[in-house]
């Protein structure tokens, strides 16, 4: 533990990194069963899903903290080493954001009281390979944890499929939501029957028989409800959650230009972000490093119609990918070498919507 903690100090102080993964990594190397040992006699809640993990984890920690001291990996270090680092801090309650593919390992060792599943859609396919592959892992995991309560948004058929294997579950519906990857039933492989926003497969998988039902709303609103329901499993009282905080957006001032930065990392998060664009001026930053997804083909799954007739500047390592995609849709854009140069083109006092890839977003807002 001491060596592991020391490595975090080295990483943070000497290497100027966030210091959130190195101690856990060292600890897991020295002691592979660390996740299990550190979770003993503690109340652990895990959050996973394609979009909204970090912000929902923050919200859930707030909910849980009314019960007692709570620690959380609020920086988004969501692999097993990030989990291990967080577990090194003492507290009765632990709320962890966990990567979709790492959930099996972390949950089978940490034996959580609650697993909250938000949503699942195409993302980083170079790493996830297939959406169904991730859903199958969740499904298998749910079957092996009879003591855990699985909470999830079953308007997403992949979440419903995972929950269907759980002994204890709370399936929540917000009245339905169309899913881009929902043409095939994840449970039986048949063509899924959709009636507008609701699905009902002949095998029984459906969102029309939820355990709890709420009004429809934005992704941020859904996640705030889900956080409160997950908290209620351990007896935490629901709290008012500011939905704006769940949006994963930050407002920053660049020499008088007010930029609203939003994280966009896959078709689902892009579409959610594009709906919120309100400024005449827009900057799009596209990168394709590992965490962004090294392939950019999915940009063609998004309609950028809301950007028509706005001033659009594209930048980032893969600016050309987005520039050509917009071009084919008949939307003009200007290329800029860097975000700094892009933002300097606007007059002070104006506001700009900035939609940024994962690595670009963290470069701008800081981890």
């Amino acid at each position: 533990m001491l060596i592991a903690a020391l490595s975090g100090w080295v990483s943070k102080t000497l290497l100027r990194k966030s210091g959130k993964t190195i101690p856990g990594k060292v600890l897991l190397q020295l002691y592979p069963k660390a996740l299990q040992a550190l979770s003993n006699n503690r109340t652990v809640l895990l959050v996973s899903g394609t979009n909204g993990k970090t912000s929902t984890t923050k919200a859930l920690s707030k909910v849980v903290s009314s019960k007692g001291p709570t620690v959380s990996n609020s920086t988004g270090s969501n692999l097993d080493r990030g989990a291990a680092t967080t577990l090194m801090s003492h507290s009765k309650f632990v709320v962890l954001e966990v990567d979709e593919l790492h959930l099996t390992k972390v949950a089978s060792e940490a034996k959580p009281k609650v697993v909250l599943l938000l949503n699942l859609s195409r993302d980083q396919l170079h790493r996830m390979h297939e959406v169904k592959r991730v859903a199958d892992r969740w499904h298998q995991l749910a079957a092996t944890l009879p003591e855990t309560t699985f909470v999830g948004d079953i308007d997403d058929p992949f979440v419903a499929y995972a929950l269907s294997a759980a002994t204890n579950k709370i399936g929540i519906s917000f009245g339905g939501k169309k899913h881009k990857d929902g043409a095939v039933c994840p449970a039986c492989g048949k063509y899924m029957k959709w009636n507008k926003n609701n699905y009902k497969c002949s095998c029984g998988l459906s969102n029309t028989n939820p355990d709890q039902e709420y009004e429809n709303g934005s992704a941020a609103y859904r996640n705030s409800v889900l956080a409160n329901v997950a908290g209620s499993v351990i007896g935490a009282k629901p709290i008012a959650i500011n939905e704006a905080e769940l949006e994963r957006s930050v407002v920053k001032d660049y020499k008088g230009v007010i930029a609203k930065l939003r994280l966009t990392k896959n078709p689902a998060s892009w579409e959610e972000a594009l709906r919120s664009v309100s400024s005449q001026d827009v900057v799009l930053i596209v990168n394709a490093r590992q965490v962004d997804g090294i392939d950019t083909s999915w940009l063609w799954d998004i309609s950028f119609e809301t950007l028509r007739n706005r001033r659009v500047i594209v930048t980032g390592e893969r600016a050309l990918d987005i520039a050509y995609r917009l071009h084919v849709q008949g939307i003009k854009s200007e290329q800029s070498e860097s975000f700094e140069k892009a933002i300097s083109k606007f007059t002070p006092g104006s506001s700009v919507d900035v939609l940024a890839a994962y690595t670009a977003y963290f470069g701008l807002v800081g981890a």
């Binding site: 195409r122 396919l125 170079h126 390979h129 297939e130 959406v131 169904k132 592959r133 990857d181 043409a183 095939v184 492989g189 048949k190 063509y191 090294i294 392939d295 083909s297 999915w298 940009l299 063609w300 799954d301 050309l320 990918d321 520039a323 050509y324 995609r325 071009h327 084919v328 849709q329």
Partner: protein, 232 residues
């Protein structure tokens, strides 16, 4: 001004890897040549239209791939008919496997449509990354992105779509895809026609039987040239 019908087959099933953009690029490039492209989206329950000039299939996950195959088998004679009259088919990844003799999905060996003389077996390694190939049909290199675990072997009635310069292609690192007449199969996403607009032009030429003058679209050229340069 000529008109062509671009049939996007089962995008709801074969749209997981961004290949739907191929249809949009064909329409876009067509405009420069004076061709009006009309995209027809075909759903799982829809009959396959007989009036297509270009038929497109994309990449998919196993269960979706099987459903798409099942739906196309219902309209098998339509496919034979349109191939007979020279329609163009571009099939990517799972779509490429579907139009071959056989492939593996969900742990089973499945008989394909047999439009291309290729056989695919599932491998235990996933081939993921950028690809660059020397095209059989064009004098330029083509680039794309592959994400599959199938190993595809060509029979005597198909020639490779290209020779792999970088990446895995059909799984052997030597060749990618297959061609027979106007039927093209490849593992390259990107979408392939966005990354390689010259290939889109070739498909338009094949579909209409006309030769077209070279297009000046600086952004398209900049994009294609850059991808060729960075994929070593």
């Amino acid at each position: 001004m000529s008109r062509i019908n671009i049939v996007r087959i089962h995008n709801e099933l074969l749209g997981t890897y961004g290949d739907q953009g191929n249809a949009e690029v064909l329409v876009f490039r067509g405009k420069f040549h004076g061709i009006t492209g009309n995209i027809i989206d075909v759903g799982y329950n829809d009959p396959l239209p007989t009036n297509g000039d270009i038929y497109l299939l994309g990449g998919a996950e196993d269960s979706a791939q099987l459903l798409s195959l099942e739906a196309m088998q219902r309209d098998r004679e339509v496919l034979d008919l349109v191939i007979e009259r020279g329609a163009v088919i571009l099939a990517v990844c799972a779509g490429f496997q579907i139009i071959g003799n056989s492939f593996g999905a969900n742990g089973k060996e499945v008989t394909g449509l047999g439009l291309l003389d290729v056989t695919t077996t599932p491998g235990d390694k996933r081939f993921v990354g950028d690809v660059r190939i020397k095209s059989t049909n064009l004098s330029i290199d083509l680039t794309g992105f592959e994400n599959h675990s199938g190993k595809t072997v060509l029979g005597s009635n198909a020639t490779p779509f290209g020779k792999v310069e970088s990446g895995y292609g059909n799984g052997d690192g030597k060749y990618d895809g297959a061609v027979s007449g106007n039927i093209f199969g490849t593992y390259m996403h990107g979408p392939i026609l966005a990354r390689n607009p010259e290939f889109a032009d070739l498909l338009l030429t094949r579909a209409t039987g006309r030769k077209y003058a070279q297009i000046t679209d600086p952004l398209a050229s900049q994009y294609a040239t850059w991808r060729r340069k960075v994929i070593k």
